[in-house]
């Protein structure tokens, strides 16, 4: 595949260099078959020469300033200083909303994503999907050209085909697309529909907010978007709604920012919101809640109706539920929740997961209205592009029509129905009944392969586009690079169908925006481009009232009962969503936030359910083998690894989708099990199933083998009331009942910094900033975005399932998850653990070659060049944060495949890639620190950047704002203030390593009635 034409498409101005002789030599010589150039014959001198050349050229490969031959810009672009990154606003579309982003662009090459602080869906924060999208851009497995009948062809061929095919305006065309919020897209869609009178257009998402929308239709007679304002809510009741996780809610970043903003406790005066979670699988939101009740998915609806019935006794507007009795009517949670909700009228939020029935959503909406939350903590927005029909039913009907041969052309815009449509639809049959099938997609996927035409879609980072945030603010999607594989955006694709010729995305988007920006277009356009968002364009809030039809619509649903026996609940996957991110290695290797599994999907169940099925709930510490189960539902059977998840509801099994792919790409292929066949058009989310042990085992690579804290004090917690009584609950003395040994003696010598030491301990000088970090466990909910952000920033390799299974994961920041308490219904705690940058670092003392040392500004530095790889430092690290390159992971990661140059472009040119045999670990993003110090030095003459000027990648990404980083010599810096917080503690204080990274203890706002 590495033919010249491909290279020219993405190399552009550097193409000339790419073809020169040195480069070719380099490609051959840097890493010839394994490490031959490093054999013993090579003297140190020539070794250095080889390495020097490699670095020079590797720099070129990762677009650092090429040393060999610099071709200066004949016209220097404005603002461009070689080596200085530029930041451009754009936004990432995900279903029908966009998140505002800021892309770091180094010499024309985007390589890091941050949130856009002005954008309401981001607030400067990001989700794992946002962070990982940069690797999605540089995925060499993306489709590289249009294909006709599975043979590569050219864009021109497609354009001429489309021009001819669609010149017949009377064609019976069915459009199936994904949810999309782009105004330009919707403009083209309506133009298309008016141009083609016989066309039908339906939208299908395997996981959409259709139930929520239909819920408001039932409750209010209007199709509205529900927005919960968690920052205004003193009380949050979530009914199986994992609204903090990006796979469960499109607006998870904003939700997390807002919810955690109510959990920032700076002193004993502060209050916290209270969160109740009722859920099936243990989710991140559930782990963040103060109280958690585990219920089967099918019990959520009866629970909701029982709650509504209870509330109907006290508030008006819920008469539809009065008198409802079911299994939960006398549940103690119903009484507690009802009284809590009543006493927090107007300040509470009830939310329910998107996989629950429209009626349940309607009931929740009615409760929010009845409790006067509506308009205050819950708002309902009218979304202009929502149809007046149930889009899912429209899709089902369209497929039936397709089967009946009602259409001659099927145009699929970005969707992958052959993979993710309900299994009972007979989609294969439907597809065979249509003459011409055209499919726009990122990969040559299941649907592309059965289509006549596949068109390669461009990544959002390389195209013009636009979209609305979840709450409606419009953004422009600004390309950061020309399309690597010459793909088309959705709007360009539609323009071809419509006009028979390609109109550039830029023109299409600008044309749409001319309607929004009335005057002074160019100026305002640039201002929106710069800001990344047009805040004035938010969706309008709609006043709502309970529809007259409400009681009637609910009458049958309120008597719904839960599933008897074992149910399966099918969810989008935390990492690869519905399968669209399946080829993203960062996501694939990210430990699933709750189970810590990588590279697989499993059947989650409680220990009791496992025993009931007949498999051993105990997992061996000694190997990675877990038993397989056979799940049969609706006549379809799959075999999948069973995973006991403490806190999962009994008699329920959670499955995630998106796995079990073939011929998608090197990451996605052969990973996990496809669970889509268990979904049917009527039972999309949960249903009864027959589960039995399948015999045999399956290897799972889980990064955490031990889940109990063993009573240790790594995580320190208290309830809010306990904290107010005893603000010092998190100190070593409070936890253990005695002071740290050696502290008294240290004080006697006038040293308050830690227990007495044998040596005169030197700290960094005052004229340097002294870096430190705090991680607020009261904010962290374990989403894992810090891990991906760190991976993107620091060029951390992906190592694959086998190596992860051998416990060699390379992530510099991991999130430990501990279960505490009752084995069936434990509390889960998350704890991100990067390098602690110990003041008296045990790693530094034991390295025989002084490869790890302390910097003047207090950073525990790792000198890769000096490291010989004894791993002694890793052994002696009490936090086990040091990572070792057991193999040449970087080589596999960055030089495998046909076009390794592509993934190399994703690398941060400011961070060295590490060779085999060296240790690596968190550096406090030393490249950012030093950039900040240099800037400060130039601007003020002091080496100390002002507070907030230096942000670590993990800190910047965190949607919970849990991580603070800064200068400890500045008493007013955020991190200094946090370190003075009563809840501040360091792990393993008694071993006197004096970590620079400390934690703020976790608090829970318990209801004394339930505690």
């Amino acid at each position: 595949m590495s033919d010249q034409s491909n290279q020219t498409t993405y190399w552009k101005s550097l193409n000339e260099l790419a073809q020169n002789k040195e480069y070719k030599n380099f490609v051959e010589r840097e890493f010839p078959e394994d490490a031959t150039e490093l054999s013993d014959q090579v003297s140190r001198r020539s070794f250095l020469r080889v390495m020097g050349a490699s670095i020079a050229l590797a720099g070129f490969a990762s677009c650092r300033k090429p040393i060999q031959k610099i071709l200066p810009y004949s016209r220097q672009p404005e603002d461009m200083v070689l080596g200085e990154p530029l930041f451009y606003a754009t936004s990432m579309p995900f279903q029908d909303s966009v998140t505002g982003l800021l892309v770091t662009n180094v010499e024309g090459r985007p390589n890091k994503i941050e949130g856009n602080e002005i954008h309401p869906g981001s607030n400067g924060r990001t989700s794992i999907y946002n962070q990982a999208s940069i690797l999605g851009l540089y995925d060499q497995d993306r489709s590289r050209s249009p294909r006709q009948n599975n043979e590569p062809t050219t864009k021109d061929d497609f354009v001429s085909f489309a021009a001819e095919h669609f010149s017949d305006r009377n064609r019976r065309i069915l459009f199936i697309d994904e949810a999309n919020s782009s105004p330009t897209y919707h403009r083209l869609k309506s133009e298309t529909l008016s141009e083609f009178p016989n066309a039908e257009w339906v939208t299908y998402e395997p996981f959409s907010d259709r139930n929520a929308i239909e819920g408001t239709q039932i409750a209010f007679g209007q199709r509205l978007r529900t927005v919960n304002h968690y920052d205004n809510a003193d009380l949050v009741v979530t009914l199986d709604d994992d609204f903090m996780s990006p796979h469960a809610h499109r607006n998870s970043v904003e939700n997390s920012v807002k919810l955690t903003s109510r959990r920032k406790v700076e002193s004993t005066e502060d209050m916290m919101s209270r969160i109740y979670s009722v859920e099936n699988a243990y989710t991140n939101t559930g782990s963040y809640a103060d109280h958690r009740l585990r219920l089967k998915s099918s019990q959520i609806a009866p629970f909701t109706y029982a709650l509504a019935a209870k509330l109907s006794e006290s508030v008006s507007g819920l008469s539809a539920f009065s008198g409802v009795t079911n299994e939960f009517s006398n549940h103690n949670w119903i009484n507690t929740l009802a009284s809590e909700l009543l006493s927090n009228r107007g300040n509470s939020v009830i939310s329910v997961g998107l996989d629950h029935a429209p009626e349940t959503h309607a009931a929740v909406a009615a409760m929010n209205v009845a409790l006067e939350n509506s308009g205050n903590t819950v708002t309902y927005l009218s979304v202009p592009f929502l149809n007046d029909r149930d889009e899912y039913n429209a899709f089902l009907n369209a497929v039936n029509d397709l089967k009946a041969g009602a259409y001659d052309t099927l145009v699929m815009v970005g969707t992958n129905i052959a993979f993710n449509a309900p299994a009972d639809l007979g989609l294969a049959e439907a597809l065979s009944n249509v003459e011409t099938k055209i499919h726009l997609s990122d990969y040559v996927d299941e649907t592309s392969r059965v289509s006549d035409w596949h068109v390669n879609r461009a990544h959002f980072i390389e195209t013009w586009g636009d979209g609305h945030s979840f709450t409606g603010e419009r953004s422009i999607i600004q390309p950061q690079i020309l399309p690597l594989f010459d793909g088309l955006s959705e709007v360009e694709f539609l323009s071809i169908l419509l006009n028979g010729e390609l109109t550039s995305g830029y023109e299409l988007v600008q044309n749409t925006w001319r309607d929004v920006i009335a005057s002074d277009f160019n100026r305002q356009w640039e201002s929106v481009l710069h800001d990344g968002v047009h805040l004035e364009s938010a969706y309008t809030q709609v006043p709502v009232s309970i529809s007259g039809m409400f009681s009637d619509s609910m009458s049958s649903a309120i008597n719904d009962e839960s599933i008897n026996g074992i149910e399966i609940s099918i969810k989008p996957d935390a990492r690869i969503y519905d399968g669209r991110f399946a080829n993203n290695a960062w996501l694939m290797e990210l430990p699933e936030p709750m189970t810590k599994i990588t590279w697989d999907n499993v059947a989650l169940m409680s220990a009791a359910t496992a025993e009931k099925i007949g498999i051993d709930p105990e997992r061996s510490f000694k190997n990675n083998e877990v038993p397989l189960v056979r799940i049969t539902a609706q006549g379809e059977t799959i075999e999948i690894a069973a995973w006991v998840s403490p806190g999962h509801a009994d008699d329920s099994i959670t499955l995630t989708v998106g796995y079990g792919r073939n011929n998608i790409g090197r990451v996605a292929d052969g990973v996990g099990v496809n669970t889509y066949p268990l979904r049917t058009s009527q039972e999309m989310f949960f249903q009864t199933a027959n589960v039995e042990p399948a015999g045999g085992t399956y290897e799972i690579a889980c990064v955490q083998d031990h889940h109990s804290l063993e009573g240790r004090d790594m995580i320190r917690t208290a309830t809010l009331d306990e904290y107010k009584e005893n603000p010092d609950f998190a100190t070593y003395e409070s936890v253990h009942g005695y002071e740290i040994p050696g502290m008294k003696e240290a004080r006697a010598e006038g040293d308050e910094r830690g227990p007495i030491s044998l040596f005169e301990e030197q700290y960094g000088p005052e004229h340097q900033p002294q870096w430190g970090m705090t991680i607020d466990l009261n904010s962290c909910f374990g989403c894992g975005v810090c891990t991906i952000a760190c991976q993107a920033e620091n060029n951390i390799p992906v190592i694959g399932k086998r190596e992860v299974g051998r416990r060699r994961i390379m992530h510099w920041i991991r999130t430990d998850r501990y279960y505490v308490g009752d084995a069936d219904n434990p509390t889960a705690y998350h704890q991100p653990v990067p390098c602690m940058h110990c003041e008296l670092a045990p790693c530094e003392q034991v390295c025989p070659v002084a490869a790890t040392t302390h910097s003047e500004d207090g950073i525990n530095q790792m000198t890769y060049n000096r490291c010989i790889g004894t791993r002694y430092c890793a052994n002696n690290c009490p936090f086990k944060v040091r990572r070792f390159n057991f193999f040449n992971y970087t080589k596999e990661y960055l030089t495998s495949g046909d076009d390794p140059e592509i993934i190399q472009m994703a690398m941060n040119p400011e961070v060295t890639v590490r060779f085999r045999g060296v240790i690596e670990k968190c550096t406090y993003c030393v490249q950012r620190v030093n950039r900040g110090k240099i800037k400060a030095k130039i601007a003020t003459g002091s080496r100390k950047p002002e507070d907030g000027a230096v942000k670590t990648a993990c800190q910047q990404a965190c949607p919970a704002n849990a991580i603070s980083f800064g200068d400890l010599t500045d008493n007013n810096s955020e991190v200094s203030i946090k370190k003075r917080n009563d809840r501040n503690y360091v792990m393993l204080e008694e071993i006197n390593v004096r970590p620079r990274t400390s934690y703020l203890a976790r608090l829970t706002n318990k209801n004394p009635e339930l505690a």
Binding site: L38, D40, R806, R807, A850, L988, I991
Partner: protein
């Protein structure tokens, strides 16, 4: 009140009333005889194993340490275990030759050559591991304080660096000590060997030894000085090896008992290894009169003592873990005995503490077959001791989140087995070409070397003077 004291003569150190000539013949004929077929077979097997070692190392260098079962948390595994185990084995030789020499233990002469050879080869096997276990072997020389333009020195705080010095010093001194002891015997073989080439080689190594009084005087002095130098090294090398663990902060490693405990364990395993090899060799080479059951018994007593010291150390570790009140220390010891590696812990305890207790019985101490069995058991036990120390502490340390099980891969096992190839290849060459008993020294402890003209009863005995015949090749 009077009591009669009876004179109990010390048992002769060499049985069978051999004279000097016999001794010379018994030992050096082994080197002078044509190579027996059995030796070729043994050598072929050990060379094959050596090839396994070289192959494993080559693959390791090619691929990286990832071919082993190492992981995070267990950054050290079989390589370091094998290192400590082989170094431990390498303790017996120098202890026997140096410390027992200084204490004038005449019985050492029967086994010292043999044990020293074993020491040197064991240290060679040991020395391989710290070198090859690093991630970037091609820059291993950075651990030496080589002056360089960066003025970059190694980190003298690091126990690994101390290790480099300790082990290399130990090897050098042990080797010199061994060589110096060999000089008179080289001369003996030089004088007896027929082949010209042999004469040249042995003659070269004999350094012109003529057996003059001055030679003997110099020899005795240098031997004594080297013994004096080697004695502290016996204690220091394993002390410093134990610092690799004791200086770290990992629970189960960070204990002050490690130096004496490691030294005792090393002597324990070293003596066991000497016994294993000796019992085979005395049988094959017909040296039962030189390496007698008395020797075996004496060594068994040392095994019993050191085994019990090790047992005491195990108990002490538990006690201190409890007494210190340190949570992590307590946890690690409970985990050792009951956790995922309990099987290894109980193998260790059975082999190291329980099995030597049989040697309280004189009958068993003097039972060659039983001793052989126990000597193997002890070496298995000592390997597991290092396994338990290295692996359990790492795999279940402070943060439960990082706990992980360590299992070796094929390459771990192959490398370990391969070192036996290295060891036995050298050992077989030693048996073939060098006198396995210090002939000159042994003669010094023969009754004939200490002639008394009066017997036990005080009667005059005519000295027997025998003029040795020139050497004739035995038919």
């Amino acid at each position: 009140m009077s009591k009669t004291y009876e004179y109990v003569p010390e048992p002769a150190l060499v049985k069978g009333n051999h004279d000097f000539k016999d001794i010379t013949a018994m030992v050096t004929d082994i080197n002078l005889r044509p190579t027996p077929t059995g030796w070729y077979i043994a050598f072929a097997i050990s060379s094959l194993l050596l090839t396994v070692l070289l192959g494993s190392i080559a693959y390791l260098f090619w691929q990286g340490t990832g071919i082993w079962g190492l992981n995070s948390p267990a950054g050290w595994g079989w390589a370091i275990i094998n290192f400590v185990w082989w170094v431990g084995i390498g303790h017996a030789g120098t202890l026997i030759s140096a410390i027992l020499f200084l204490f004038r233990q005449g019985w050492r002469t029967a086994i010292n050559r043999f044990a020293e050879a074993m020491t040197i080869f064991a240290v060679m096997c040991a020395g391989i591991f710290p070198a090859i276990h690093v991630g970037r072997i091609w820059v291993i020389y950075w651990v030496f304080p080589v002056p360089n333009s960066m003025a970059m020195w190694p980190n003298f705080n690091s126990p690994l660096l101390w290790d480099v010095f300790a082990v290399s010093t130990y090897f050098t001194v042990s080797f010199l000590f061994w060589y110096v002891g060999l000089v008179p015997d080289f001369a003996t073989i030089r004088d007896r060997i027929k082949s010209k080439f042999g004469k040249l080689i042995y003659g070269t190594f004999a350094l012109g030894w003529r057996g003059s009084n001055r030679h003997w005087w110099n020899y005795e002095k240098s031997y004594m000085i080297l013994a004096g130098l080697a004695t502290p090294l016996v204690l220091s090398v394993h002390t410093i090896v134990s610092f690799d663990f004791a200086v770290s902060i990992i629970p189960g490693w960070h204990t002050t008992i490690f130096p004496p405990y490691f030294v005792a364990g090393a002597v324990f395993s070293g003596f066991a290894m000497v016994l294993t090899l000796m019992i085979i060799c005395r049988k094959i080479y017909g040296l039962e009169d030189i390496m007698t059951v008395d020797h075996i018994e004496k060594m068994n007593i040392i095994i019993l003592v050191t085994g019990s010291m090790v047992g005491f150390a195990y108990a002490m570790e538990f006690f201190i873990a409890w007494y210190s009140g340190v949570e992590y220390e307590k946890a690690i010891f409970i985990l050792r005995a009951t956790g995922p590696y309990a099987w290894a812990y109980w193998i260790m305890l059975t082999c190291n503490v329980f099995s030597p207790q049989f040697f309280w019985s004189k009958k068993l101490r003097r039972n060659v077959a039983f001793t052989f069995f126990i000597s193997i058991v002890v070496n298995i036990g000592m390997w597991f001791e290092r396994f338990v120390i290295a692996v359990t502490s790492l795999s279940t340390d402070y943060l439960p989140s990082s706990w992980g099980y360590y299992s070796p891969t094929f390459w771990d096992v192959a490398t370990y087995i391969g070192t036996f190839g290295l060891f036995f290849t050298f050992f077989l060459l030693f048996l073939r070409f060098l006198p396995m008993v210090a002939v000159a020294e042994l003669k010094g402890v023969l009754p004939q070397a200490d002639p008394h003209n009066y017997n036990d009863k005080g009667e005059y005995v005519e000295p027997v003077v025998e003029i040795p015949e020139p050497y004739n090749k035995p038919s």
